[in-house]
Amino acid sequence: MNRIRYVTFLAGILAAGLPAFAHAEEAPGAPAGTPGVPAVPATTTEKPESIKSPAGSAEAAAPAQDPRDRQIEELRQAIISLQKAVLAGQAQPGKDARDLQIEELKKVIEQLQSRVEELEKRPATPPPADTTPPPAPGPAGAGGATFIPNISAVGNIVFGAGDARRVGNRGRFNFDEFEIAFQDAVAPKLRYDVFLSAEKGEEWKLGMEEGFLTATALYPGLNARVGRIRVPFGKFNPLHTHVWPFITQPSAETALLGPDGLISDGALLEYTLPTKGFFVRGELGGWQTSSEAEDGLGFAAGELGAYSGRLWLGKEMGRDHELELGFSRYQGRGTVADIGRRRVALNGVDLTYRAYPGPGRTFKASAELIDHQTDVPGGDAHRLGGFVYVVYRMNQFWETGARADYTKFAYPVDGYDWGGSLFLTKYLTEQTSLRLEYQYANSPLLGSGNGIYFQILFGSGPHTHNLQ
């Protein structure tokens, strides 16, 4: 019965307005110590033990409170007490009348909370006239909302100097690539990412580097993508040029996957297993290879049909270290010189270690080994290539690293390429950077000697990529 009186009393306070609450301790019907019913807080309150403040701190030096804040504080303490009463009531056996009382208490709590919110919206004390600029209106529409998809642009200008055969477009600033991205959600759990690219080779050509729809969470852990995709073969191939930490493409990628990497049209399923503590993802794709092999460089098969598989494992070793291991395969049929259509495949292993040694600093070491496998009479012809690189980001603005390359060429081209490079990057903004790379390479086919490259990368607009 006391509870009902208490609820009635609180409802009366709400109806009468807040000032009455300051004298709550004088009101009848709320005797301290009544079982299950908290005493209404007066002007002094006791904080819950779990959140008491450290002694001697700034917060302990609370002065005489503003009347509004005092009222809010009193209301909050009343709410806390009532909620404790609800919890205590729920813990007791039995139902019916007690449940009714609990429901009534909950309603009173909601009313009190509304009152607190209303009070909080009032200014506590007149703020200094020069400290709070009024919020500016939104960028579009009354609420600042737009229907415009995320649009971004990335440009890549490279200057090269060095050996004539090795360094393309040497001696001039070459606008290598300009990428425009459109990215947006089209439905709950469905989004598109389109990356149009204008590239300068012999002539300018406009194409779609990637363009795909992603269906997220089709089943717990399962995503699907359809469209034109940089095939998830290894860690490096899915990366766009502008996110490479260096300027030149690793020779194993050029020789075995292609000068533009391995890009295909098709569908991809990505399934992350519900493991705890380590990352296990399987990726299966069905494709038609769309990137072209040029002058014996790259993967010349699968234009009529190919499939890929990748197992990607990751393990965190403390919060600041991470190890990743991946196994990849891509297989299709292609015309092999003199022997007709044969099965051609790529097999890959990649290993990546990342460390975060301090604020703004990151260290990454990555290695990939690629096996180009061609079915030839009498067995398979294997051509191996690989690269390893390390990158150290010293702070928000500077990054440096080194890379070593070795590769043979895809069957039936003979020869090899090996070399190494050093690179240094200065980030001007999040999307704009200057990069310098020195490369030494030795290759009977691609040319040998020194090369110096200078890159200007620039971009604007919101630009994101999938997990890489």
Binding site: S57, I80, F278, Q396
Partner: protein
């Protein structure tokens, strides 16, 4: 063939051993350590809270990686900073393929909902203005009044995914808010005599703090948000500070010290290093000790 079978069995056994066990607690993953603390305070014993970016890490630059996907794949609820500060969180949510936490689902909480944004840009934006956030300055957690809003957003999210705990979440929320209200009075009292004074900050990350406590931002060590300071900018700012009598430079502990130190030497002002987030320094393991450290240091320097 036998070898293949053995490998397959080993892989299956490994996966079974690593499979996430059913847990009675609500698994919450926050974008950073600050939000994780608020989630713990509101969720209490009913939640298990993890986070992606630790304090002392610049929240603009977080490298998404596979282990973080694992955290999100097993989450019942995520809490993001919002206001475009944690764009990197999107790729993690997509990669996790967890329907419980995608945008618009019950387990998706944007902690910035309801925050009154400061420095909301207007007109055309481009990188020449620095790294500007289109939805306004996203460093809202430096103002205690905003932590109350964040806590309420988190409580609402927890009630959506765990209705049975509603009373607990409400009780914890109110206890937290009550203490924040009381503590804010103390912090304001500490800085009351300094209201209206000018300070310089490294980045535009303290505008909500300055606004809440009546201080004024005179300038920034960065020439524009996210851009590296230059000696010329520092010299010019130092000159202006001397003329205006600005005595304090505030920088989070994860910022580069070189130019802040140079500015302090050139201007004669005192450089105050503050924790960049909850837990960034020893003894700042909750919001109260974190804010105590900031207020005490700033008040002492002013």
């Amino acid at each position: 063939m036998k070898t293949l079978k053995i490998i397959a069995c080993a892989v299956l056994a490994l996966l079974a051993a690593g499979a996430a066990p059913a847990s009675a607690k609500v698994n919450v993953v926050a974008a950073n350590q600050d939000l994780a603390w608020v989630a713990t305070a509101v969720g209490g014993d009913r939640v298990s809270v993890d986070y992606i970016a630790k304090s002392g890490q610049d929240p603009h630059h977080v490298d998404p990686r596979p282990s973080q996907v694992v955290r999100l794949a097993n989450a019942d609820m995520v809490i993001r900073i919002g206001m475009d500060l944690d764009i990197w969180f999107d790729s993690l949510i997509r990669a996790a393929a967890n329907g419980k936490i995608v945008a618009g689902s019950r387990g998706y909480v944007d902690a910035s909902q309801g925050i009154s944004p400061l420095e909301l840009p207007t007109g055309k934006l481009d990188p020449s203005k620095g790294d500007i956030h289109i939805y306004g300055n996203p460093h809202y957690l430096f103002a205690p009044s905003n932590v109350r809003i964040v806590a309420k957003n988190i409580a609402e999210g927890l009630k959506r995914v765990d209705r049975g705990g509603a009373a607990t979440y409400d009780a914890n929320l109110n206890a937290l808010v009550a203490r924040l209200t009381q503590s804010t009075q103390g912090w304001k009292a500490k800085l009351a005599s300094d209201r209206g004074k000018n300070v310089v900050t490294y980045h535009k990350s303290l505008v909500y703090f300055l606004n809440e406590f009546g201080l004024k931002e005179f300038g920034n060590v960065e020439p524009k948000p996210g851009l590296e300071p230059s000696p010329g900018h520092v010299a010019s700012l130092a000159n202006d500070m001397k003329q205006a009598g600005v005595k304090v430079i505030i920088a989070e502990d994860f910022r580069q010290r070189r130019f802040s130190d140079l500015l302090a030497r050139s201007s004669g002002a005192q450089l105050v290093i503050i924790p960049g987030g909850i837990g960034a320094e020893k003894g700042t393991d909750d919001y109260f000790s974190f804010m105590n450290a900031i207020v005490d240091r700033v008040a002492a320097a002013l």
